[in-house]
């Protein structure tokens, strides 16, 4: 029977993790996402599904526990907020290099530095352009509702294991803290060691005499070897880009203008879009669900009919660069943002849209 509950976004992530057969959660308290670990500790899944929940001594420890647990072929995850995610970048780079699947949840807050505990989307560039060193990519899912917070957990693990790659759910303090109705996913069994062994020969499961060693490393000292390894990664990224790009289109069928926004900003833009539509302006909303891979092609397809695009983000202009790459100068692209933990209202988006895109055309 379908189970519906009123939950915070952070709680929905935690509950979904238990239900989708997550093997381990490792985290460190930080506002505005501490409820993820608190929910898990309160539900004590070690008694029900056998899931491990551990409070680490730092985010550096958490991400490296993922490296170890993921290396064993287990479904492991962590969650944090911006400053903590910055700390994890070293581990993420190594995990991407070693091709270990894992899930990292970033409930973003305003920065830089310690910043504020209020919501922000200023970690877009860090997430999709590679926050750590080296040529690597992290698949990034951007939920725009508490429902998606729950739904994306299983999706993230599926993608992580399909591509042996870290996946990030890039949320923010707004969705993490707000309460909405959630249809909870059904329970899924955790994978047995035997099944892991059968499906993931790379995983650390103990070597028998005649088996090949499974060494997990991101080190290839010879440049030729490292280049080959990089080509393997790049081929994988091209495949991800070709098959896993996701976005939501709202009222774009007859649109002359586009709003492009992700996550919580898209929810606010949706409201602004309705007001603009009521005023007779044909505006649609494109919401990237995967930030990497980015929906360049979907934007390109819409461009011939579009007079102007407003990219609205809770940052100083990060995703707008990717929109410009998609548009290639063929239509006007403007940016509107609030910074450092301030959240724009639908009215502000409406105002920015009118000023930046409409007034000059009058």
């Amino acid at each position: 029977m379908e189970e519906v509950r009123l939950m915070k976004g952070n709680e929905a992530i935690a509950e979904a993790a238990i239900r989708c057969g997550c093997d381990g959660y490792f985290g460190y308290p930080i506002t505005p996402q501490s409820e993820v670990m608190e929910w898990l500790m309160q539900e004590k899944p070690w008694d029900t599904t056998g899931m491990v929940v551990l409070q680490a001594e730092s985010e550096v420890a958490s991400i490296n526990m993922l490296y170890g647990g993921g290396g064993c072929g287990k479904r492991v995850m962590t969650s944090s907020s911006s400053p903590g995610i910055s700390l994890m970048q070293e581990g993420i780079s190594y995990i991407a290099g070693a091709q270990i699947p894992c899930l990292i949840v970033n409930v973003m807050r305003g920065g830089p530095g310690l910043g504020t505990i209020q919501p922000s989307q200023a970690d877009y560039a860090q997430t999709v352009k590679g926050g750590g060193h080296g040529d690597y990519k992290v698949i990034a899912l951007a939920p725009a509702s508490v429902q998606e917070m729950a739904d994306f957990v299983d999706l993230a693990f599926t993608l992580a294991f399909k591509y042996r790659n870290p996946v990030m759910i890039l949320s923010d303090g707004l969705i993490g803290q707000m309460m909405e109705k959630v249809r909870l996913p059904a329970y899924k069994k955790r994978m047995s060691n035997a099944a892991i062994k059968e499906n993931f020969p790379w995983a650390t499961l103990g070597k028998k005499e005649k088996e090949e060693q499974a060494i997990i490393t991101s080190l290839h000292l010879l440049a030729e070897e490292q280049e080959n390894h990089n080509h393997v990664l790049q081929r994988k990224y091209r495949q991800i880009e070709a098959t896993e790009t996701r976005c939501e289109l709202l009222q774009t069928h007859d649109a002359e203008y586009l709003l492009i926004a992700f996550g919580s900003a898209a929810r606010i833009c949706q409201n602004a879009m309705h007001t603009l539509r009521d005023e007779g302006i044909k505006v649609g909303l494109l919401r990237p669900i995967t930030l990497y891979p980015f929906p360049y092609e979907e934007i390109k397809k819409l461009i011939p009919a579009i007079k102007g695009i407003l990219v609205a983000e809770l940052n100083a202009g990060q995703m707008v660069e990717d929109v410009k790459l998609a548009v290639e100068g063929r239509t006007k692209v403007e940016h509107f943002g609030r910074l450092g933990g301030m959240v724009f209202s639908p009215a502000e988006v409406h105002q920015a849209f009118s000023t930046k895109l409409l007034e000059e055309h009058v």
Partner: protein, 336 residues
């Protein structure tokens, strides 16, 4: 004050934003008061903190301040002290900041013996993130992240500091103003890294965590105020003492079982050997009284002094005495 300073001279104009009843208020006041007694001008004092409730302290000091990165304050304080050895550097940390995420920097600052004073506010909980257990939470502590009690063994800050080759460790209680001032003063006088553990009460998320030893009724029977050169005697009636039996320390009732004051250990804070000091920092109620005051204060060369000693030694033995000597010390040749 004889030197013209008053604690108010070290108060900033900011509103203190700790909860009413928080132990931090008293610690702040005692630090301001100690600095007034010491009489260093405000511009010669720097207070560096990491992240946590206690780390808001620099805002409330009318001195230079850094509010920095979670766990990294010892590294930043080390940077300040090595860049400006003439400044007096205080580092403020909580148990989560110093011992969880910052454990690495904490032990290495101590090992280097850089002349900084670390005040460790130990309330055995993460207060700022609203109540998760910390590395000093007692085993079994029920918190938001351990609703069924923790299973982890806590750090003992004193044991960790001494294990990191710390030469100064003192302990006080937030509500014991006199003792706090005494140990802050001693830490300031000590050259090298000083660690002061303050048993601090978080009135919201871990209220009364130290109450068994800090309440007025029992404090004298359950704590031992150590003073260099004095006998380790404690109790309301000064009728209990600490003795050595083999390798162990033991509490005895004076006048009973043939034990008298003569058998009681004398505190030597300057003893280089750490064995008794480790026993003292590890004493926990109810088996032992909890040791207060300056437990260890041993003068060893600081990082600065060691660098100076090395430079002096090199100056004496090297043939390079000037810049010209240096330029001509390697492979040089004349161009005709």
């Amino acid at each position: 004050m004889a030197n013209g300073y008053n604690f108010k001279d070290f108060k900033s104009n900011q509103n203190v934003r700790w909860c009413p009843g928080c132990g931090d208020h008293a610690i702040l006041r005692m630090l301001q008061s100690t600095l007034a007694d010491i009489g260093r001008p405000q511009e010669e004092v720097v207070v560096v903190s990491g992240i946590g409730c206690s780390s808001r302290l620099p805002y409330y000091m009318n001195t230079y301040g850094f509010h920095t990165i979670h766990g990294r304050a010892p590294a930043i304080a080390s940077g300040v002290k090595t860049a400006r050895p003439d400044l007096m550097v205080w580092q403020i940390s909580g148990d989560g900041d110093a011992l969880a995420i910052g454990g690495n920097h904490f032990i290495h600052a101590i090992r280097r013996n850089i002349d900084i004073n670390i005040i460790l506010f130990n309330n055995q909980i993460y207060g700022l993130t609203k109540g998760q257990y910390s590395p000093t939470s007692r085993k079994g502590t029920v918190s938001k992240s351990s609703p069924f009690g923790t299973v982890e063994v806590p750090f003992r800050p004193g044991e960790l500091a001494l294990g990191a080759r710390g030469q100064f460790f003192a302990r006080t209680i937030d509500t014991d103003l006199e003792l706090s001032k005494e140990v802050f003063k001693a830490a300031a006088d000590h050259k090298g890294t000083s660690v002061i553990e303050v048993l601090q009460n978080c009135v919201i998320y871990n209220d009364k965590t130290h109450i068994a030893i800090t309440d007025k009724e029992h404090k004298e029977d359950r704590t031992l105020h150590l003073e260099h050169g004095k006998k380790m005697i404690f109790g309301k009636n000064r009728d209990k003492g600490l003795i050595r039996v083999g390798f162990d320390v033991k509490v005895v009732d004076l006048g009973k079982g043939g034990f008298t004051e003569r058998d009681v250990l004398v505190h030597n804070a300057h003893e280089k050997d750490t064995s008794l000091h480790i026993d003292l920092v590890n004493m926990e109620y109810p088996e032992f009284p909890v040791a207060m005051g300056v437990i260890r204060s041993v003068q060893e060369p600081t990082y600065d002094e060691n660098v100076q000693l090395q430079m002096d030694a090199v100056h004496q033995t090297t043939g390079i005495k000037s810049f010209d000597d240096l330029v001509h010390s390697g492979n040089t040749w004349a161009v005709d």
